[in-house]
Symmetry: C2
Subunit: 538 residues, 2 copies
């Protein structure tokens, strides 16, 4: 028997309309690429978005067309999110950190017909132009007076918006229609395209705003440091509109000082970023002695949140919460919001729970599977391959042969993890980075985290290298802090009582610079190239 | 172009699984129909629900079958919510306040194959039995030792649960499958069946939990006074599980003292009920001098929230928030959570905003239409017919001929309302209760609210009666407070400066008892019968 409710669809346009009806005076503030601060309200944004939508249709953007964008977090890219998706086209956010070769690859693979870009990336796009024949029109996201140098025809974003008519009549269509796409960072092999639907974005927005996740509400001021060019800035431009949070876009200035200025000037209460961003801001605070007067909470994801960061921000009255997810998961899978009973623990006890990845959002189903394919209990002890399922999780990569899911329909995250009886996820390692030694698994992340506690260690990466007896043994690769001195033996001694005997690295090597991927993660593939034939000491 | 996300469905079973994974230790507490307090955890509830689901399947409950239930808010009815819906059957909650005739009508109309009931309603069900031949099995929701007297075969709920096996394998099916149904109270004509889907319930849960709506979270303790036998207790048993709120079910004791005891003993932070319930509790507090030590917020709906109640609870540190909705809307349409700028106003200013019905939940689209069918602006001035649209709103009544929606797909709520530029809805009246006088509309509710400010007035109902010159003029019908004295002229004088001249009632009549419908609303139809041929003074 069917329910008898309306067949209304979960479209992102409804988020825009909802926000404009209820929160029209709430501001959206941007540090522009051109320099000055730009501010307007949700009501004004909606009018511009409707003009942009109308103009895009008149430019020939058809439902299903891919529209590429390479830009910073600004109000213009925010407008693109709603206008492009709202007309049934697909916003393809291109990560400039992929490098020119991969950026060209993803634009061609997605067959972007239009390419919008910030002035910063004009040279990149100019260089790409001959290699992306699918692109019919290039648009600089600026005004005429700031138009960048560019070979050949170039449209100007603000002029396009001006050409549009107000009161655009938004089309209604199936919520499973694609709204946006984003490619994985491609640390192994070619980048792979993930295609989000209106439905997945709306469900993610609902789940992310719950008090048990981000807990955003009216009166909150959200500054997403995570880029709109990768996984929709963790869905921030959608989630914020659901609850009427003020949005602050930092543009290109992501250094500690630049962020600090925006945090204070706009009274930011909540922010989100990868550990490096939080670390830079913390260094800035420590160096200048400045305080955070408004920031209350932050979400940290992308890679494991170090204990030192949690403690560092606690001193400033900011609760840093770990989030875990993937491009393939829209992206939030878990958030570590402590339940009341753990929140009341003394700080030293509490932190043991805070370093975990947190609990799953509703409609994110997680399981742990042994190497033999057995589903393991959530007992907080047995770890295995982490697999996920749900309406915001990928079923197929864009135009890619081969199976994306397990035969019974789960997506294997590539992580090794355990889940405890209260639902807390703890990532042990990436499957491919786990060190298999004497029939057991050792987590490279555990060793890296322990190494980072050493005062002279700035960055650490651990790989397994071949060992005649144990198959593999861990090698720790370290970048020293500027001016700090230490030795291989000293670091090993430091780690001796911090790790299980089996995880104690057999050797420590120092390098000048850590190879990092497009989202700031240590490139283990590069470390393996560098140390592929490494001879462990006897 | 389609998104490439999994086709996972929004099923209520996922709410249950989510809660059991993350909140297994959170309690569900019931004042049972038998008397004692019953308490168990979400983890234990899930095990019983799975046993019940298995037992229902073995009893022959098929997907699509309607399972009737007449019961108080208890853990047993809570279990029914998840078990019946989870196996693809439909829980038909029957409102005992409909009276035997209507109760029999809805059971037959829904063709309930099974009927579950609390001991309180055993005599009602025994009397109904000969008239509901569709029901094949009757089940008393109790244990063997408390089995009520009943003519013929009777199953016992706790024995059924015991027969089920643990680890039930929940089926997966389309989210548009019916999960529950509820009939309107039938104040005019026969009750009409509203059929909720898994999808509508899940979307309503997400929307209701937002900080801009109920803002429920972990650590909250929710006591729904609104009955599970009508519109799913405003969705509480679903919403609470999404965020891990502790649930407290008051069973049959809904008087001020009974509720107060539960509020204090279980540290209830949030409750929901109709004005009468809140009024009774307030009287109890005033009479006994007791305080509310834990309650922070309450939602009041069903009919307009009187100013006096808001002020009354403010003294106890409780923020009473108005909600508006309908059986046909799953049911929440709006909640009055003040935005930060209004929250900061002095109490006397703030209350002008608090008496409005609030702002729409996301995916509740509202419009105001003039009697001529013109869509009116949301300017806070022009009122008209309130029409709604969205995924949680009815498209058809169950097995009923005739159009439910407007030709362009909106549901007419039967309310007259205005909406201001900030999205605040203000119900002026029911369309059919509006008094049409000299070409203008006068709100019967405005007159009633003004009359309720008179110290001798306990209840007030206003209807339009025929007038030779003005077509209609308002007649105010009053029930006096116990022991209070007043006169028709005194009440009219009292109202003189509180109403526009056009709304000043031409006459006041006193009656002993106000006719009320099954959900506690004044039955204007009955007032019209009583005063149909009323002669207004010249």
């Amino acid at each position: 028997m069917r329910g008898l409710m309306m067949d209304s669809q979960l479209l992102t346009t409804e988020l825009l309309k909802h926000a404009a009806r209820n929160y029209r005076h709430i501001e959206i503030v941007t540090r522009t690429v051109e320099g000055p601060i730009h501010r307007y309200t949700i009501g004004e944004a909606k009018r511009r978005i409707e003009k942009l939508a109308d103009a895009l249709v008149n430019m020939g953007v058809q439902p299903g067309d891919r529209v590429g964008v390479i830009g910073w977090n600004t109000y213009r890219q925010f407008e693109m999110y709603y206008a492009v998706g709202g007309i049934g086209a697909v916003l393809h956010t291109v990560n400039p950190r992929l490098g020119p070769e991969n950026a060209g690859y993803v634009i061609n693979h997605a067959e972007d017909k239009f390419l919008f870009f910030d002035n910063t990336f004009a040279p990149l796009v100019a260089a790409l132009k001959p290699h992306v024949p699918c692109v019919k029109r290039f648009v600089a996201m600026t005004s005429r007076e700031h138009a960048p140098a560019f070979p050949g025809e170039l449209d100007i974003y603000d002029e396009i918006v001006e050409r549009g008519r107000e009161n655009f009549d938004w089309p209604e269509f199936d919520e499973n229609t694609a709204v946006a796409m984003c490619y994985t960072s491609g640390t192994t092999g070619e980048p792979k395209g993930v295609v989000y639907s209106h439905r997945s974005v709306v469900i993610q927005s609902f789940a992310a705003c719950l008090p048990t996740a981000m807990g955003l509400g009216e009166g909150d001021v959200l500054l997403p440091v995570v880029p709109m060019f990768h996984v929709n800035a963790w869905n921030a431009p959608y989630s914020a509109m659901l609850v009427g949070a003020k949005q602050v876009f930092p543009g290109p200035r992501l250094d500690g000082e630049g962020l600090y200025e925006m945090f204070e000037a706009e009274k930011v209460t909540f922010s989100s970023g990868v550990p490096t961003v939080w670390l830079n801001l913390l260094h800035y605070l420590e160096k200048t002695g400045k305080k955070l007067n408004y920031l209350k909470r932050g979400m940290c994801g992308g890679s494991a949140l170090p204990e030192a960061l949690i403690r560092g921000y606690a001193k400033y009255g900011v609760e840093l919460q770990q989030g875990w997810g993937m491009t393939e998961m829209s992206p939030i899978g878990t958030v570590n919001v402590l339940p009341p009973n753990l929140r009341e623990l003394p700080a030293e006890e509490r932190i043991k729970h805070q370093v975990k990845q947190g609990r799953a959002l509703p409609f994110v189903d997680m399981r742990i599977v042994s190497p033999e394919g057995k589903v393991l209990p959530h007992d907080g002890e047995q770890d295995g391959h982490l697999q996920v399922r749900g309406p915001c999780i990928i079923k197929d990569y864009y135009k890619r042969e081969g199976k994306t899911l397990t035969t019974d329909g789960w997506f294997d995250t590539g992580d090794v993890a355990l889940i405890d009886e209260d639902g807390f996820l703890q990532i042990t390692d990436r499957s491919k980075d786990v060190i298999k030694t004497g029939g057991e698994w050792v987590s490279s992340i555990d060793i890296e985290n322990a190494a980072l506690l050493h005062p002279a260690v700035a960055q650490a990466g651990v790989i397994g290298v071949t060992h005649p007896k144990w198959q593999e043994r861990p090698l720790l690769v370290v970048v020293k802090k500027e001016g700090a001195e230490t030795s291989s033996e000293e670091v090993r001694e430091f780690l001796k009582d911090k790790l299980d005997k089996i995880a104690w690295p057999d050797a420590v090597e120092f390098i000048q610079e850590m190879p990092l991927g497009a989202t700031g993660k240590v490139l283990k593939t590069e470390l393996r190239k560098m140390f592929g034939s490494y001879q462990l000491p006897e």
